[in-house]
């Protein structure tokens, strides 16, 4: 058999395999609508940043209602966890009291007023008052990775058990069990505590969903392709209008992509690729991400080749303005402290 005839056969088979041309023409139209919508969304986002104070009051009938921003919110300290589990302050005014270590897969967040840090260490979850240094135990970790989520004032926790989410009141111990029909992980409370975001696996594909805690209504925001997964679970923006996450896309052995993306939480969710964080062999790496308190930037860790962690960088919420923040071997969790000006 000659090269020419083998090529001809290959072309014929490939061309013949394209039987669903009309279906793909429909796909093409949808792609165009998506892109048009994305451009419009980018333009709206620019306007929204300017008018952020008005935007947080917008009415969203079927999605979680965000809590209003505290006045004069500005960014304070940024904390990250190294691959050895050490809590490191990478920028901002120096905090006098910090935990020494924290679990990089457990809760790690500032409370809404920025006065305390919720973190996991020693098999339990703690609330550290950053001014006095008082450390209170909130509860035990359910597992070694401490996969429990605490809301922004550490008054409630959420835990995925089998096909249920168990929401608990920290002070009273009262629990509510909500069926979600699939195993969940990476739970994250929305600002205002109205909703939870989490990752499920339905039909063999990883899915990012939200659950409105009042109506029990679930919304599917993102569904990945088979084989792809969420390297980093959902992180709500301070206004609750967007969720950031990191997708591990492509083969697991070589040249997979770590993609930093956001999705809107409105009725018609729209995803945006902000940046390809890395093209690497990095199956086990979970970048830490955190929103700045004013919602204009995202901080993220990167994996350095040959290391289990990497430096911290940040970028604007539209994917531009990439800049390095701190060198180190960070992984898993990043927390960005809200500060409230006292004069107002």
């Amino acid at each position: 058999m000659t090269l020419e005839s083998r090529l001809r056969d290959a072309v014929d088979e490939t061309v013949t395999s394209q039987r669903l041309v009309d279906d793909r023409l429909g796909d093409l139209r949808r792609m165009r609508r998506h892109r048009t919508a994305q451009r419009a969304a980018m333009a709206l986002a620019a306007v929204a940043v300017v008018a952020a104070g008005l935007a947080v009051q917008a009415h969203r009938p079927s999605t979680p209602q965000p809590a209003p921003h505290p006045p004069n919110l500005r960014g304070g300290a940024v904390l990250a966890i190294t691959t050895e589990g050490a809590v490191t302050q990478v920028r901002g005014p120096r905090l006098p009291h910090l935990p020494t270590t924290a679990v990089a897969t457990g809760p790690f967040r500032f409370t809404r007023d920025g006065s305390s840090l919720v973190y996991a260490a020693g098999g339990g979850v703690h609330r550290l008052d950053l001014r006095s240094g008082t450390d209170d135990a909130l509860g035990e970790c359910p597992d070694r990775a401490c996969t429990v989520a605490y809301n922004e004032d550490a008054s409630r926790s959420a835990l995925a058990v089998d096909h249920y989410i168990v929401v608990s009141d920290v002070s009273s111990g009262e629990t509510t069990t909500i069926a979600i029909g699939a195993s969940a992980k990476d739970l994250a409370w929305s600002p205002g505590n109205a909703a939870l975001a989490f990752v499920t696996r339905r039909g063999g594909t990883a899915t990012l969903e939200t659950l409105d805690l009042d109506s029990r209504r679930r919304s599917r925001l993102v569904r990945l392709q088979a084989g792809d997964y969420f390297a980093t679970g959902p992180v709500w923006s301070p206004d609750a209008h967007q969720i950031a996450f990191v997708v591990h896309a492509g083969p697991v052995d070589v040249d997979s992509h770590l993609l930093l993306e956001t999705v809107t939480t409105q009725d018609d969710p729209r995803s945006s690729l902000l940046r390809t964080l890395d093209i690497c062999t990095c199956r086990a790496y979970a970048p830490g991400i955190a929103w700045s308190p004013d919602g204009t930037r995202l901080a993220t860790t990167l994996k350095r080749a040959g290391s289990a962690g990497g430096p911290l960088s940040s970028l604007r919420r539209d994917g531009t303005g990439w800049r390095p923040e701190a060198d180190g071997t960070f992984t898993g969790r990043v927390a960005w402290q809200p500060l409230i000006d006292s004069e107002d």
């Binding site: 000659t2 072309v11 949808r30 993306e261």
Partner: protein, 177 residues
């Protein structure tokens, strides 16, 4: 202005509506996917062909007015496949996911082996070879798509054939240009 980019002049084209994009799409897509198969991994080929078609769709009035819109979209596809590859692919995959991506069609081992060998060629050789194999284009048209001279295309094809024969363990039946 090259053979692809020369826009039709006069009232006959400018004053009439462009031909339907749907017809162009149905005629071009199957071979465009085959072209992409020869230039990028199978799981990306259909998305890549879609991406090239999307570019044509968005600019259809302008593209339809070209002398050879078919060559134009093949150039877009061939260039997309080899330039800024990874970054572009990621974006394409992400957008395709939003639009409801389909799994690529499974092909026979022989066909996959041919396309894999083609993809392993140097970029320009792979482009020339894929265009020749998929469309049976004359040298001049391949040169127009790749924006190079006829002599360069002949050289690329000759080297590509030699490499493919070696890779696929085929006998030398003499060059056909």
């Amino acid at each position: 202005m090259d053979r692809i980019g020369a826009e039709a002049t006069g009232l006959d084209r400018a004053s009439t509506a462009p031909p339907p994009f749907d017809d162009f799409y149905r005629a071009e897509l199957p071979r465009l996917v085959a072209l992409a198969r020869g230039l990028c991994p199978p799981h990306l080929a259909e998305d890549l062909a879609q991406e090239a078609m999307l570019v044509a769709y968005r600019r259809w009035r302008t593209v339809a007015a070209l002398e050879r819109p078919d060559l134009w979209v093949r150039r877009v596809c061939a260039n997309l496949a080899v330039s800024s590859f990874r970054r572009r692919m990621v974006e394409i995959r992400g957008l395709a996911r939003l639009a409801g991506r389909r799994e690529p069609e499974l092909l026979s081992d022989d066909t996959e082996a041919i396309w894999a060998a083609c993809r392993s060629l140097p970029k320009r050789q792979a482009q020339a070879m894929a265009l020749r194999a998929v469309y049976d284009l004359p040298i001049a048209d391949i040169a127009a798509v790749l924006d190079c001279s006829d002599g360069t295309v002949k050289q690329h094809l000759s080297r590509a054939r030699a490499s493919l024969r070696t890779t696929l363990h085929l006998e030398d039946e003499g060059d056909v240009s």
